[in-house]
Amino acid sequence: MNGTWRLAGVGLVMAVMMAALGLRLWSIQVTETNRYTTEAERNLIRVVQTPAPRGDIYDRHGELLAGTKPSLAVVVDMGLVEETFSEELAQRLAAFLDEPASAIIERFENANSGAQLILAQDLTEQQALTLVEHREDFPGVAVIPQPVRDYPNAELAAQVLGYIGKPSAADIERPEVKGTDVVGKAGIERYYDDQLRGTEGDIVYQVDAGRSVLQRLGEKESAPGDNLILTIDSGVQAQLQESLQGGLEMARNLEMEERAEALEEQDVRTRLFFANEEAQLQAQRDAIAARAAAAEASEDGTVDEDSVEVEAPEGIDEGAVLGSLYWGLPVDANGVCTPVQRVEVAVGGRTILSGSRERTMRLDAVLENRSQPVAIVDIDGERYEVEEGDTFATTLRAIAVDQDALVVSHSDKWCPVRAVGVVEDPNDGSIIAMASYPSFDPGAFVDGLTQAQWESLGTINAFTNFAIQGQYAPASTFKVVSYVLALEEGIYPLDRPINDRTLGDESPAPDPATDEAVTDDVAVGEEETTTTTTPPPSDDELVPLTSDTDLYNCTGSLRFRFNDGSSQVYRDWKRNGHGPLNLHGALQASCDLYFWEIALRVWNERSDESGINNEDLWQEWARSFGFGSETGVDLPFEKPGLIPDRQWFREEQRKNTGRVRSTGPWVGGDLMNAVVGQGAVLVTPLQLGNAFSAMLNGGTLWEPRVVSELVNQDGDITDENEKATLGTIDIDPETTRLLRLDMQQVVNGSIGTARSAFVGFGPNVSRVGGKTGTAEIIKSTEDVQEVDTAWFVGAAPIASPGYVVTVVVERGGSGGRVAAPVARQVLQYLMNGEVGVTPLEAGAEAD
């Protein structure tokens, strides 16, 4: 049949193919078997991964901020190391690298069978040559190029750049990250880690039967990551960092001077009084902190009062207080205060606590028989029993109590902590400079920090970018929000009866109708301008001001009455007040009362009758400038700040966090605090600078950015980070113009709170404007600082600003005194060049 033939045909074809295979096998396995055997001997192939260099980071002018330096590393391919030989190999490598053999042996043992161990980095050329030439002595060992991160400018822009390190558990979950990689841990290095990484390459080695590397067979080059172009200007950044450092040192020196004066003036009784107050406050703080911790720990955020353990404040130990007050506080090597020191002492050992008079601390024993270890400490003869977390001897807090050591932090609550600054371009939201001091060198991470270095830098929070992570009370700088609200909504304070305005005063208010500043001889900081002696008017005598030019009597204090009949006196920062001022004068002299009155009007008229009808009007304005939410800058860990309102207040009470009064609702007094940037208001320095930028550029709220472009190795742009807006605020151009004018007067005008700080500025001072702020709060959550944060926000050229400079000094004292001079130096650099920068001098205490 035809079918059978076909089948036979198919069968034949298959037979032929089988035969062909058989012949091929014969050829390979019989005829040429020797050739294969030889090739097999020579032909082992191993692949080693080569890490990719990270992309470079440049400033806006092309200056290199972070790059790569080439380095050679020794790699051991564990897959080629025979068990029996591994110890011998370790010995040889130890001798060659001058390292302990035991360490190498341990690494061999812990490695997977196919792993590639990087044993040593930074090989010299000579060492690399030796290894290659004697490769038969080192089977399985190869030399590969390893790119190492290099920061040529050390501390410049450290917090912005961030640093790199070993991946954490969360990082390893990313598919492209291996355990042996490095990843960005903070800053740009972290935010743009994916783009900076690049892709690793392979080197394929031919290895012979003796496992020694014969030659490279092929190489797939690693592809470096993209390069980043930042908006940072290195020159401005360097000046900012220098000024911040100088400013912090100046602030600390001022603090030391004040203490010296106080010591002379105060008698023993006053010292004890202050110490008592401090102890009470500390007890309150502990209670609040304990409640907050319990609230966090409990599931629904509420706190059961009974379950919170708070120790009642004991009577203070007068001897200890006198012994420690002022002379027990930590000082650095120059005798200047330092906000915190980390002190460690071993059992049976002793250490010196620094201070203007040194004390000796001995750790006598650690008792382990209680629920927690208890350290028995002796300080100059005084005995203390200390558990972890305890505060003792006024300034010491036990961080860790181990069976063989005690670690304490020795803190000075009055010493200025840090200085933070941001320079932003209000025309597109680019960050020109950003820093906080104390700072660090990211390059130190590349080789690895010692535990001690890590801890000491960590104690002072050198790694944190406080420009976006620090949340502070903005104080008087926040008055600009109410300023804009007043002009846009037409809400002005209730004033005293008209006939009171005839009370004379010496300083004329500036006339906003003209662009020139009216100057006279009265300098800020000299004696007060007016006193008022008339009795406070009753409410129905009060007349609302109707325009920004109407004068208001800025006295020294205001009495606010609560619903329950009690009342509280609010004092202006200037004890005797400022005299009659209109809106513009109130901003320039930073009169608190004027703005409190605006708050009261918003508060009192929040019902239908007079048309304001919006209790949250002020909060809306604040939020429209970006306060209370993140700016979205391309850096990690940004904090949102806080704009408090009734709803937030209620939540805090319900959760019993202790951050607000436990009874009673949100009241007008809370709004008054908020309006002058105190109370619960929190902002980050970047947020504040960004908001000022929006107000000064006519209403465009930018999303700030640090990176402008990503560029590949050939110079082609791979991605652009274009300027973007968070929103537009509808502000009348006239409002913007008036604000610029008033800010210019803060710096140049007779009642301006920053005037003394800008004396001697040099040319272009009339083109500079600003706003000071001094925050006085006593709160104790972890991310809110304590007393007297000094602020200054400056802008230049004020007619159409190209720079907004924001400076804050934690525990710095007065804004006009400490923060303004720092900003002044930066503004000098910006307006007059490097030669225009004059040495730092403290300004007069103002605001």
Binding site: G3, L7, V10, G11, G22, L25, T33, L217
Partner: protein, 390 residues
Amino acid sequence: MAATRERTQMSLLRRDRQLRPDLALVIPYILLTALGLVMIYTASAPRLEALGVNPSREVEQQAAFVLIGFAAFAIVSVVDLRVIRAWVPAIYLGSVVTLILVLSPFGEAVKGAQRWIQVGPIRFQPSEIAKLAVILGLAMLLSGAARPMKWDRVARAVALVAVPAVLIFLQPDLGTMLTFGFIAAVMVFIAGATWRQMAALFVGGLIATVGVFQAGVIKTYQITRLTAFLDETSDVLNTQYNQYQSQIAIGTGGLFGKGLFNGTQTNLRFVPEQSSDFIFTAVGEQLGFLGSLFVLVMFGIIIWRVLVAAANGRDRFSQLTATGVAALIAFHVFVNVGMTVRVMPVTGLPLPFMSSGGTVFVAMSVALGMAHSVWMRRSPLVGERTISDE
């Protein structure tokens, strides 16, 4: 081998069962399977032992499937193909459905290919079942073909194959798709296609291939895999690594081989996938030319017996089914062995009965069982004894 005694007595053509199995089919089947198990053990045991795991784990897994496969073979051998024929449309449709499912989120991807479905505790490859379904489907379709075959039957055959083939191609699984092509060509040819029709199929296949390349549907790596084996000097590092190492390993086997387990200490260490796609390499290195030849001869015998069964099948459906089975086994052997010695590209086709893999073994056993069933119900040779049903 069926006895041919009593030729003088012609028995009537009674469609009865023949209970005597074809030992020439069964013995090589069992031998190859056993050898496969041994090879899997030598390939996997040292590695597993180094990991601290039971060294027999892989072999034990495979042995379990072997038992299932043997049982399947026995059962299918006894079943009349006519019974199966009634179910063919359902089998075909069911197969297409599982192929679609495998591409959906329901399917699982292993090493970049969507080839598996998990149903409860069982994981299987629909493409293996599809091979059987297509053989049966084509057999059914072509069994009604006229002589000479009409073009529309050819077209329908193409369509029947194309649907699952395309679905498999999308997984992507180029090798299995090519298997379908080969099987279809052989079956159509045996079914009586004219030379012109065969030419048309061939040309059509070429056009389709070119079209697919042009459309960029085939990924570069698939092309490289196909073509790189031709170039001795080409980049040994990437696609060629497996084949290169395999060729060397086989070459070092020599005439008698290095002996069991001695392959795994030296060159076989560098051949990945030893227990699956490259199991022949293990044979070559450890058992030498003699071992390789033995395996080839065993396969040769099996294929020959299946073709003989096809020749003696009592109806066209049976004949064509057996033909398909022969093509199936033959293609796998050629491509797999050819791959290990670098005359064929790397396609991922396993070696029947020897490569590890449960679904593959059971599917192949069923296929062989079907061919065996054809043999056991064949038109009796002159003079054969038969056992009557009645």
